[in-house]
């Protein structure tokens, strides 16, 4: 059962085509992320759902109801703004209770609800504080409490963590996720941070230039990006040119630059037409440096650079017959000494982790 369904959403700002035919279903209780580079239309799409922007064409359905002509204050959505938009002249409790003013609740009941909401975001006892005397993380929590107290069907979050420092951001990521499970409300998160999207989301829509390039669960998105651009945007990916050699019943053979002949299963191939010339994508962990044994497929390479992270080492290895080095990540174990720059080594790969793109 989808709580939001977007059908053929088009949005023009004058001549500028900001959203190009967005189709998407968002399920009830889902943690959904809109991920994309700056200017791709994430905020615009979120504002279309919230009712702050009109669509040029297309329909927005929330909870089975067509939202055409329904203003933002009548929609079953609430938003956490990037700037938090805490009302500076009101106290924390007045901010959190703001949306309940129209309900004209008895004073005691209102206070109870406000306290409940503050407790939920870990700000118990902060109600009397002046809202301008809060830290960034606290403002964020007030904004969350203020939106959640209305028990919306959907909570919209526009880059809510981008103003926080790294430590605080990581803490809020887990906390947001916990909160979402606890209240069971559908969250739609806008972010340009791919790691944040992977950590938090049930499903992610990757957007480029006003279009959804791929909509999938984090694992699927990471393992099987549909296009080279998605692969590049999510994490790190090495690309090697390849030519199709022959087609069998259960596999296709490719001649990959630097690796030689590789067998590829049908699910690793791009959907639709594919050409003779292709590009193969490999994550850094799909390649590995050979320390012992002699796997049947291994090619020589030379370490040109490395970054040591303590738990992991990222090597830049030049394979024969390729123009630029590939990135290989290796877990650091005592039995595996970190290689030096310039070391000659053997590189092997996990054929099942290869992704073929139509070039």
């Amino acid at each position: 059962m989808s709580i939001i369904s977007l059908k053929a959403i088009e949005k023009y700002y004058g001549d500028y085509h900001a959203l190009k035919g967005i189709d998407c279903e968002i399920a009830e209780g889902e943690f959904f992320s809109l991920l994309g580079p700056s200017g791709c239309g994430k905020t615009t799409l979120l504002r279309v759902i919230a009712g702050f922007e009109d669509v040029s064409s297309g329909t927005v359905v929330i909870g089975g109801q067509n939202m055409a002509g329904v203003p933002a204050n009548k929609r079953p959505t609430n938003m956490v703004f990037q700037s938090y938009a805490i009302f500076p002249h009101l106290s924390v409790a007045e901010n959190v209770g703001y949306g309940l003013r129209r309900a004209r609740l008895p004073r005691a009941e209102l206070a109870e609800k406000v306290n409940g909401a503050l407790k939920m975001v870990g700000l118990e006892g902060f109600g009397g504080r002046a809202s301008h005397a809060l830290s960034g993380g606290q403002r964020q929590r007030v904004a969350l409490a203020r939106a959640l107290i209305l028990e919306p069907k959907v909570l919209l979050l526009d880059e809510p963590l981008s103003a926080l420092d790294k430590k605080m951001r990581e803490q809020m990521q887990t906390e947001l996720r916990r909160l979402q499970r606890q209240v069971g409300i559908t969250f739609i998160l806008v972010t340009h941070d791919q790691e944040e999207a992977l950590i938090m989301s049930d499903r992610i829509a990757v957007m480029f230039e006003g279009e959804i390039a791929q909509l999938a669960a984090p694992q699927e998105l990471y393992r099987r990006p549909l296009t080279r651009r998605v692969g590049e945007f999510i994490g790190v990916m090495n690309f090697l040119d390849a030519r199709q050699v022959d087609t069998g019943i259960s596999q296709v053979r490719f001649d990959v630059d630097g690796l030689g002949e590789v067998e590829i299963k049908p699910e690793q191939l791009p959907k639709g037409a594919r050409s003779f010339y292709s590009v193969v994508g490999l994550r850094p962990e799909a390649l590995s440096i050979v320390y012992d044994g002699s796997p049947k497929s291994a090619v020589p390479g030379k370490v040109v650079d490395l970054s040591y992270y303590g738990d992991m080492t990222y090597y830049e290895v030049q394979l024969e017959g390729t123009s630029s080095p590939v990135t290989i990540s290796m877990k650091n174990l005592t039995s595996r000494p970190v290689l030096e720059r310039g070391a000659e080594t053997q590189v092997t790969w996990d054929a099942g982790s290869l992704v073929v793109f139509a070039s």
Binding site: A50, F52, P71, A72, N73, T77, N78, M79, F81, Q82, S83, A85, F87, P88, H89, Y98, G99, R102, A130, H132, A133, R146, A147, L150
Partner: protein, 269 residues
């Protein structure tokens, strides 16, 4: 000795600015009828005299009424214009805003004469307090817009959207969120418009009807040397009144800034 010269300049500047103001109360309490040194004795006679002049009371009331209405109208127009210019995009915004601000630099005599022609010749209306109010509103509104624009500009636009998102109507969001946050600007622009209108002479002189405003009345009294000490006393009272108004305004402005946790910059005092 660069610093020395600057210090002398600063002192000279302050003396030039405030000496006349200091002289005002001095002569207001001076017993002599001629405005000249040496001072004679202390008296409050001129203030007593002031209390007995009916025409003066009429002029004062007239001026205060005009100033209050002018300030209210200018602030309302100012709020509308400042909000429109900071919040919305519309065609010909630049030229329109420019046209509204022009009275700021237009010589008042031109405004006064052209308004007189329009009111008397074209509209064929009698001159009254309302014609003065029209003229004063014209010159005060740009000041109100200038002050209020900076107040509106400093607001995060998502505050209003957040209120709407929480179920408020557009008007409710404006009334409950935006207005309280720009209230220091409203108070400041109201007081500035009030003061400008209160002591404005040229437009009032041209457009006033049978009842003169205070500046016009004072000007008419300067022809009679015996009345001058009373005018001095009047000036002293106005000085005290404006100091009180300014302090009150500043108090509210600071409180407003404090309430929203802003950094205090600017202000009058």
């Amino acid at each position: 000795m660069k610093g020395g010269w600057l210090r002398i300049y600063a002192i000279g500047y302050l003396v030039f600015l405030y000496l006349p103001v200091v002289l005002l109360p001095m002569f207001a309490f001076n017993e002599g009828t001629v405005i000249a040194f040496p001072l004679k004795g202390f008296t409050t006679e001129w203030f007593v005299q002031l209390a007995g002049i009916e025409a003066l009371h009429g002029a004062l009331l007239n001026s205060v009424f005009i100033a209050l209405v002018t300030a209210s109208l200018s602030v309302i127009f100012g709020i509308c214009a400042a909000r429109a210019s900071t919040r919305f995009r519309f065609p010909f915004k630049g030229p329109i805003m420019g046209a509204i601000m022009v009275p700021l630099v237009l010589p008042e005599i031109i405004v006064a004469v052209s308004l007189l022609v329009v009111v008397v010749q074209v509209l064929d209306l009698p001159l009254s307090a309302w014609t003065v109010i029209a003229g004063h509103t014209l010159i005060c509104t740009p000041f109100a817009i200038a002050i209020l624009s900076s107040a509106f500009q400093g607001l995060d636009q998502s505050l209003e959207e957040a209120a709407v998102d929480l179920g408020e109507t557009r008007w409710g969001a404006f009334k409950n969120i935006i207005l309280p946050l720009v209230s220091p600007g409203i108070v400041a622009s109201f007081l500035i418009c009030f003061t400008i209108s209160l002591d404005e002479f040229i437009i009032a002189f041209f457009l006033t009807g049978a009842e003169p405003t205070l500046p016009v009345y004072i000007w008419s009294q300067l022809r009679f040397p015996t009345k001058i000490p009373a005018v001095m006393a009047l000036g002293t009272l106005m000085l005290v009144a404006s100091l009180i108004i300014l302090s009150v305004a500043e108090y509210y402005r600071r409180r407003g800034v404090e309430r929203v946790g802003g950094k205090d910059s600017g202000g009058f005092l």
